[in-house]
Amino acid sequence: MTYFADKQPLVADIFSRYPGSPQGRRSALMPLLREVQNAHGYVSEPQMTEIAALCGTTATEVRSVMSFYSTYHTVPTGKYHLQVCSTLMCSLAGSDELWDHLVETLDVQPGEVSPDGRFSVQKVECLGSCGTAPMMQIADEGYYENVTPSKCARILAALHADAPPTPDNLVPVTVNAEGRQTLANGEMVGASIGGLSPLTGGTA
């Protein structure tokens, strides 16, 4: 059975966020991919074809969009998908050593899942945490910063026990009903749109 066959309300909800035109339907591509990936940890080829049919496009386009983002996966991922930043700052601060350590201790290569199904690893480009390099993130749970060898060992031990430690920096930032950005732990970040005042002339 296809993934969305029994999820018609969900599909309808996603499509309702976009215009009904052919171009508008294509916009639903990303949330549909996210649905599948949240459920399976990756998007398989039959599911790409299914999403393409839903959006009125081709599997080639779906794969093109997916492959642009390092956060979509075409191969199965583990329960904890570790993404290590390998761009300049982290690299200078030792992300290569961190990567080697991960690959060796977990005995897993990119694209593989460790035998216990827990771990998969991936090198990604800059995640914007250069001040706390080297860093790694677990899927979209949050950032672990300043990951030294001993910190890495602690994190891995906790993950082996299926008790992931609280990330140093929580992502994603979501926007709540009041238009405020909040972290996963409820902490408010950024400004609210209600508190904005114009920079030039006039009154608010």
Binding site: E45, T58, A59, T60, E61, V62, R63, F68
Partner: protein, 729 residues
């Protein structure tokens, strides 16, 4: 609109892109991603120029510089070089190219260096070498040396996108022409960029490119990344003899270049013809040429003791004379293929007049000849098209492409001093299509999937449209009625059933009611031209359908045996290959393919298009004109038509057209009345024939298989021996 390029002022129409302004003024900029018939996207960043415009004061006067009478509008230059393909030229704009601007020259050389970073240095083994845009532009605009001292990107160099197209991922420079081509022209989103940044490559997720129009991406690829697998590794570009000619596999009459090497036809590429095929050809026309160099008949064959044996023309003429011995020349039926040239048709008509035979026919043709008055550009710019009983993909693929062009707005790029606009800013990526402008009635085809109205019907005739009995047919008729410039396309399903009288009345009635222009797809490449010559059975004569009942027959490039007929009398076959009919014939005369003919063909619009002779090795093969001269000799007749010149002179008197001065793009000329006769059989259009594909074993073989088979067969490199025969001088 006045624009100044490198100090040269030119007058240009509004809407011109800066790149066209530059070329119109006789200057040059390098570019890779722009293409006349695709949307400009500014992907390659090579067409950089410096540009600036005058600015106006709030009172409407120009901001001036200089004093008194010497004052001129001040030009405000953009702070950085701009991509000229995506920029519109404006009134008073000044442009500097690399010829006058060091900034531009340096920026272009820098861009070239980026483009070449990951481009492999395999020009010596690359099929594109010598005809490569990147190679030429790197020579003209590059630094000449690379500062890049690291490993280049390595990727798959032999990645088959389909049986016909091989992708070299390392060579790709990400100009996106192929991706845009598939999205914009055939409307199939089957290619796209995968990954991003330096890892980007082209791939499809559809399990291969769809056959139809995929080969065009090998033409537009500015580098050797997408290569025609049929021509791959067959020759270098400077070794080919390039012959500009016309494709005669279907009645569209696309302009092509036939590239031959060592007497073999190795490659066919599209040639631009703004009125016919723009820059595209179909896959059959591009890849289906293998028959021209495989298993050709090169000598006449005569039957000796029941076996066909090779001989010379003199012996063959003698054999014909002996075989027909004493027979009345009027008993020899003359049949020719309807893709023969006008000259050949005229020669056959003249010979028929000499022999007095009533049994003359050309095939394939339809019982009624509907002269189209719509041109292909009319279709592209129509506001409604109704396709009745046609599978355009099999009958005339380029017509299908022009219909798809109509759906996306029918924007024909303008023409400048340098030719077709390089970047037409009206063309946009992901064009909005209007399927409601197209109605298809007939069997399901590739085109019907793009139609707003599709009526699936097995038996289609004009009445289906004139007296619509379904919702869809009524919608199609409404579409014709309400449009300003509608075009009605008629295909085989309708034309096979066309009887001379009633059909013409119905059609003229429909045309006068709707104001539609008509395009009837002829049965074969030159059926429309040959219809103007008396090449149909006259009263008392046998048509091609009755080839079984002729006492003697001359059959040129037709294969009745393959369709279950068997000429019983003395049979002379004139063909390029040993077909089933040739195998059963008494005398076989070798023919040339249409790639090796000089002559004239008439396409679906009535456009006279020239054929030129490609340098193919055809042995003693002769075209129909010269073969008929030999036949006349065997019959003891003296014909005036003995070659191309005399046939063209005959056409001048016979049809009133001078075919010797045709422009390269062809010309539509009136050809006078048409001759029609019942056909007695139904024509089923088929674009791809068996001989157009390579044999399966050599076709599918990979290089690994090829090398293994060479090793198993103890192949050795052919080396000259230590002593050459005849001494070593």
């Amino acid at each position: 609109m006045k624009v100044t390029i490198d100090g040269v002022q030119v007058e240009l129409p509004a809407g011109t892109s800066a790149i066209d302004a530059v070329f119109h003024a006789g200057q040059d900029v390098p570019f890779f991603c722009a293409h006349s018939y695709l949307s400009p996207v500014g992907a390659c960043r090579m067409c950089l120029i410096e540009s600036g415009s005058p600015r106006k004061n709030p009172d409407g006067s120009f901001v001036m510089e200089g004093e008194g009478d010497a004052a001129t509008p001040k030009i405000f230059w953009f702070p950085k070089p701009m991509a000229s393909c995506t920029m519109q030229a404006t009134e008073g704009m000044h442009i500097r190219t690399a010829a006058t601007s060091d900034v531009v020259a340096k920026a272009q050389a820098g861009m070239m260096e980026f483009t070449l970073l990951n481009h492999p240095l395999d020009c010596p083994t690359c099929d594109k070498g010598g005809a490569c845009e990147l190679q030429d532009r790197a020579f003209e605009y590059g630094y000449g040396a690379s500062r890049f001292g690291f490993d280049r990107r390595h990727a798959d160099k032999h990645y088959p996108l389909s049986d016909f197209v091989i992708l070299d991922q390392e060579r790709c420079i990400h100009c996106k022409r192929c991706v845009r081509y598939f999205e914009e022209v055939p409307g199939q989103e089957v290619l796209d960029f995968i990954e991003r940044g330096g890892h980007t490559f082209i791939d499809t997720e559809e399990g291969g490119l769809p056959t139809g129009f995929q080969g065009n991406i090998t033409d537009i690829c500015p580098v050797g990344a997408l290569l025609d697998n049929v021509a791959r590794f067959r020759g270098r570009n400077w070794e080919y003899d390039h012959t500009p000619t016309t494709c005669t596999l279907c009645p569209a009459g696309c302009s092509i270049t036939a590239d031959a090497r060592n007497g073999r036809l190795e490659r066919v590429v599209a040639r631009e013809n703004r009125d016919v095929n723009e820059a595209w050809i179909c896959d059959a026309g591009r890849f289906g040429h293998v028959f021209a160099s495989e298993a050709r008949l090169t000598k006449p064959l005569i039957r000796v003791n029941g076996e066909l044996v090779e001989t010379g023309w003199d012996e063959a003429i003698a054999a014909i004379r002996a075989g027909l011995g004493g027979m009345n020349t009027a008993d020899l039926a003359l049949f020719l293929h309807a893709d023969s040239t006008l000259e050949e048709g005229a020669a056959l008509e003249a010979l028929a007049a000499l022999t007095g035979t009533n049994s003359v026919d050309h095939w394939p043709r339809y019982p009624a000849e509907v002269l189209s008055n719509a041109t292909l550009n009319d279709i592209a710019t129509a506001d409604a098209v109704v396709v009745l009983g046609a599978d355009l993909g099999a009958e005339a693929p380029i017509v299908e492409l022009r219909v798809l062009e109509m759906l996306r707005g029918g924007i024909l790029p303008p023409e400048y001093a340098h030719g077709t606009a390089i970047a037409d800013l009206r063309l946009v990526e992901r064009p909005a299509r209007k399927p409601e402008k197209l109605a298809v009635i007939g069997s399901a085809s590739r085109l019907s999937g793009n139609a707003g109205t599709f009526v699936e019907a097995a038996n289609v005739d004009l009445l289906t449209l004139i007296r619509p009995d379904s919702e869809g047919a009524r919608a199609a008729l409404n579409l014709l009625n309400s449009a300003k410039n509608p075009v009605l396309i008629l295909g085989a399903d309708v034309l096979n059933g066309a009887s001379a009288g009633a059909f013409a009345t119905q059609l003229s009635d429909l045309v006068s009611r709707t104001g539609a222009k008509v395009m009837a797809i002829p049965a074969a490449a030159n059926s429309r031209g040959l219809a103007h010559l008396n090449l149909v059975p006259r009263s008392g004569g046998q048509g091609y359908a009755a080839v079984n009942h002729t006492r003697a027959a001359f059959i040129s490039r037709l294969d009745p045996v393959a369709t279950g007929q068997r000429p019983s009398g003395f049979t002379i076959v004139h063909d390029t290959h040993l077909t089933a009919t040739a195998q059963a014939a008494d005398v076989v005369l070798p023919a040339v393919t249409n790639y090796e003919k000089r002559g004239t063909t008439v396409n679906v619009e009535g456009r006279l298009l020239p054929l030129q002779q490609a340098a193919l090795n055809a042995g003693e093969a002769a075209d129909l004109t010269r073969t008929l001269a030999a036949l006349a000799e065997a019959l003891g007749l003296r014909t005036r038509i003995r070659g191309l010149k005399s046939a063209q002179a005959l056409l001048q008197t016979r049809l009133g057209v001078d075919v010797t001065d045709l422009p390269e793009a062809g010309a539509i000329r009136p050809l006078g009345p048409v001759y029609t006769a019942p056909t007695g059989q139904v024509h089923r259009p088929q674009l791809w024939t068996e001989r157009m594909t390579l044999k399966p074993d050599s076709w599918k073989a990979t290089w690994v298989d090829r090398i293994e088979s060479l090793v198993e067969n103890k192949w050795e490199l052919p080396m000259a021996g230590s002593s050459l025969a005849g001494g070593d001088d």
